[in-house]
């Protein structure tokens, strides 16, 4: 994820809503994807993303540039996504096509399997995988976003990857049978 221009951050911190809208426009997709992978529901991911940007707006005055803006933002998204499990919200039954793990239009069997396998990962493994593999953060940045040590990120990332490789190969074996 590309970092915003310092001038945009400066204006956003000064309360310039146009600058803030530019940040929202730039990062809403990644924020939503991250939330979606953690929650597994489109509507809840939307709620969490909106909540996260609102929290970030309230807290932008405290962002001093000690971490990357994107890491800071995704840490808030993560907290809001976790909150989505336990906060007031109106969940409706999720149509099958909205389930994480459901294929994008015209998926190959492999893509379907990998999506389902990612979704089946426990959260502590799914989080680093999505942050690093899908969103493209480094281990250091993932450590900051997830609030765990660098070694933990590496170990979890490897465990996630190993599980996915195994899921893929098991799927292939089943397919061949």
């Amino acid at each position: 994820m590309r970092e915003p221009e310092p001038e945009t951050i400066r204006r956003a911190r000064a309360g310039d809503l146009e600058a803030w809208e530019s940040l929202v426009r730039t990062y809403q997709a990644d924020a939503w994807r991250f939330a979606y992978h953690l929650i597994g529901n489109r509507a809840s991911a939307e709620d969490a993303t909106q909540e996260a940007f609102l929290h970030a707006f309230r807290a932008i005055g405290t962002y001093q540039g000690q971490a990357k803006f994107t890491s800071w933002l995704l840490r808030i998204v993560r907290n809001c996504a976790i909150d989505a499990y336990r906060k007031t919200r109106r969940e409706t039954s999720v149509p099958a096509e909205e389930m994480p793990g459901a294929p994008t239009p015209g998926p190959s069997g492999e893509r379907l399997r990998i999506s389902q396998a990612i979704d089946a990962l426990p959260r502590e493994l799914r989080e680093p995988f999505v942050v690093i593999e899908v969103l493209g953060f480094t281990y250091d940045e993932a450590s900051s976003i997830l609030g765990v040590k660098l070694g933990t990120v590496k170990s979890r990332m490897h465990r996630a990857r190993a599980r996915l490789v195994r899921a893929l190969s098991e799927g292939e074996a089943a397919h061949e049978v």
Partner: protein, 662 residues
């Protein structure tokens, strides 16, 4: 080298974009299994980057709507260090300092000039005749109801003073003219009389007018203080609506300033300070927290830029004992360190608890009915269409010509409007509305047919179950800052929503008289599954305790008026979460009240805010997030959080300290 070590090295090398180390490369050359792992990992990478690319919704408009509302409600203030770093100036220095002589003079003037007959001290308001204040507190909600129903018209002019908006403009003054004609004509105009340093400063000249079917608000948008005085986004805005439904909550009439039906709706929030006679009129002084008084401020602050208040700041309202109109109200800063820290974060100066920081005083009022012409306004062509179409009221009386099902008891309120919304993509169901009103009291009965959503119409998942006749059930929500009190009924004859500014008991009496049987929500409305788990809501606390799967802690002491209303259980992976909602019955202006969440397998999430602090609690350390009003900690194997936007840290600590086994 073992395969698992080699594969860990391969995995790290993939992410760090570094070549693999020599030992790993050696192992790879001789290990078919690890070469398979590497190929698989690369395949996973390729597939994941495509397969997980779900279509992303455009959230920019909805996020920015919320952000703008937030900015309007709490204009962001840059803290001093940030302002210095930005090369600008903070509104006020962070370091404690004495109030400037000019501000001090005005504050003293306000206190002396407006608090006639009372002396406000740090300990409270003393003076006049305290009388039997307990009995009076119990009477006030009922008296307000009577006053509200008997009012046909009203005009008043208020003088308003506000301190500490910015360093350059420490005092602002306004005059507000209000007019009301029952049932739905309302007009308020705010004229800004402040002598600003230059014409470049945006003025809070505002207008809100409605005749029931149209609604219009105009004035400058909120301006972030660091941008002042040049503020491009503070250009005057006009928000206009036509084909408005009766008593629509999204385009509300902020009438609590006429009779405070929401603010003083229940005796649990009426703290009578004393009685007095001022200028020949009997008055009663009532104190309440700002968090419970916000509708009094909505009347004047629907647009424009205003200073923020702390939720526990004290609002003292002087009510005319004959009419129950608020003749004046003032805000006094709450005492204590929490308030001082908040003030510092907001960039405000030191504000002592004895001097008012906001005052609104009625200069004149009359109950003569204003002329209709006062409310007439041309609706702009760009007005948004709410899609509500009135039908003759008489049609509602003829069952063959209407879908109306009327309650047997509407507490003496006559039917004033009847109609239905046009079906549209955003409203793909039939929604008809009956509206009853007398004076300022009103009630709407909405009936919805072809409802396809898996939840009751018009209330949330923490609505309180209330018993209705013949084994029926309804779902009640107290008033919030944006919604009136509501009862939803799920019936075989459609969904019903009763909404009103009547007291809770009156509204429930109406709900009991609707000639339908309220049914429990279908199980599919309560259980919401997704691939990661499920949420089961609409539970009582007892049922939540039984379903939790781990020992819960419940509060043995709650603030006055609070009680449990509903709970939900969430299961996500190995984590079980129980959330219990506590609210007061008449009004919970933030719409949430107090939420207690407990979870297994959930560590304390990482800190996100420099203002978060750790506090000792229950033989452990808890984290307090002031911006979110959340106290959270891990106790044994259970994560516990208490959140309530209207509470401060001492209040939440007291509740937390009382937690124990049920």
């Amino acid at each position: 080298m073992r395969c698992d070590s080699a594969q860990a090295g391969l995995s790290a090398a993939m992410d760090d974009l570094r070549p693999v180390t020599e030992p790993v490369a050696d192992h790879l050359n001789g290990c078919r299994h690890c070469r398979g792992f590497l190929a698989g990992a690369q395949r996973v990478r390729t597939l994941a980057r495509f397969a997980v690319a779900q279509p992303v919704p455009d959230l920019v408009p909805s996020i920015m709507r919320k952000v703008r509302a937030e900015a309007a409600a709490n204009p962001p203030r840059v803290r001093a260090p940030a302002a210095l770093e930005l090369g600008g100036q903070a509104d006020y220095p962070l370091a404690p300092r004495r109030t400037s002589p000019r501000v001090r003079t005005v504050a003293l003037g306000l206190a002396a000039g407006l608090v006639i007959g009372f002396t406000v001290t740090a300990g409270g308001l003393v003076g006049g005749n305290r009388g039997n204040t307990t009995a009076l507190a119990a009477e006030i909600p009922r008296d307000l109801l009577g006053a509200s129903a008997s009012l046909s018209g009203y005009r008043a002019t208020f003088d308003i003073s506000e301190l500490h908006w910015t360093k350059s403009v420490p005092v602002r003054t306004f005059v507000a003219d209000l007019a009301f004609r029952a049932p739905e004509d309302f007009r308020v105009s705010v004229r800004d009389l402040t002598p600003y340093p230059s014409p470049a400063w945006p003025r809070n000249d505002l207008l809100l007018a409605t005749d029931g079917r149209t609604w219009q608000a105009s004035g400058p948008n909120s301006c972030p203080l660091p941008l002042l005085p040049a503020c491009p986004q503070a250009r005057p805005a006009v928000i206009a609506v036509r084909d408005r439904a009766p008593f629509d909550a999204e385009t509300a009439m902020p009438t609590d300033v006429i009779v405070p039906m929401t603010v003083l709706a229940a005796s649990d929030r009426v703290n009578v300070l004393g009685l007095d006679t001022i200028a020949g009129r009997g008055e009663v002084a009532v104190a309440l927290a700002y968090r419970d008084a916000t509708p009094l401020f909505d009347t004047f602050q629907f647009l424009g830029s205003w200073r923020p208040f702390f939720p526990q700041d004290r609002v003292i309202v002087w009510l005319d004992r004959k009419t129950w109109f608020p003749m004046r109200y003032q805000v006094f800063p709450a005492p204590g360190a929490e308030r001082a820290a908040w003030s510092s974060r907001q960039g405000l100066p030191i504000e002592g608890p004895d001097s008012p920081i906001f005052s609104a005083t009625a200069r004149s009022f009359s109950t003569a009915v204003p002329a209709l012409a006062l409310f007439a306004r041309r609706t702009p062509a760009a007005a948004s269409d709410d899609g509500f179409h009135d039908r003759p009221v008489a049609a509602a009386m003829i069952p063959a010509r209407s879908r109306a099902i009327q309650p047997a008891s509407v507490r003496g309120l006559p039917l004033v409007r009847y109609g239905a919304y046009a079906r549209s993509d955003s409203r793909p169901f039939d929604e008809s509305v009956l509206a009853y009103a007398r004076g300022l009291s009103w009630l709407t009965v909405t009936r919805v047919l072809s409802w396809t959503q898996g939840s009751p119409f018009g209330v949330g998942p923490f609505a309180e179950s209330v018993e209705l006749p013949h084994g029926g059930i309804g779902y009640y929500e107290p008033a919030s800052a944006s919604e009136p009190r509501r009862v939803a009924l799920h019936t075989t004859k459609g969904e019903f929503l009763l909404a009103s500014n009547l007291p809770r008991a009156e509204l429930l009496a109406v709900a009991r008289s609707v000639p339908v049987k309220g049914l429990p929500q279908p199980p599919s409305w309560l259980l919401h599954r997704w691939t990661g788990g499920y949420v089961l809501d609409g539970l009582t606390v007892d049922r939540a305790v039984r379903r939790a799967g781990f020992p819960l802690l419940l509060p043995r002491s709650l603030p006055t008026g609070y009680r449990p209303v509903a709970a939900e259980v969430t299961r996500a992976g190995r984590t079980n979460v129980v959330t219990i909602s506590y609210r007061r019955p008449a009004a919970e202006l933030d719409g949430v009240g107090l939420l207690l969440s407990e979870a297994t397998g959930q560590p304390l999430p990482p800190a996100t805010d420099a203002d978060q602090v750790m506090v000792p609690l229950r033989a452990t350390i808890a984290r307090w997030s002031p911006d979110e009003s959340r106290l959270e900690w891990v106790e044994g194997r259970t994560y516990v959080s208490l959140s309530a936007s209207a509470f401060d840290l001492p209040e939440l600590l007291a509740i937390a300290a009382s937690l124990g086994a049920p």
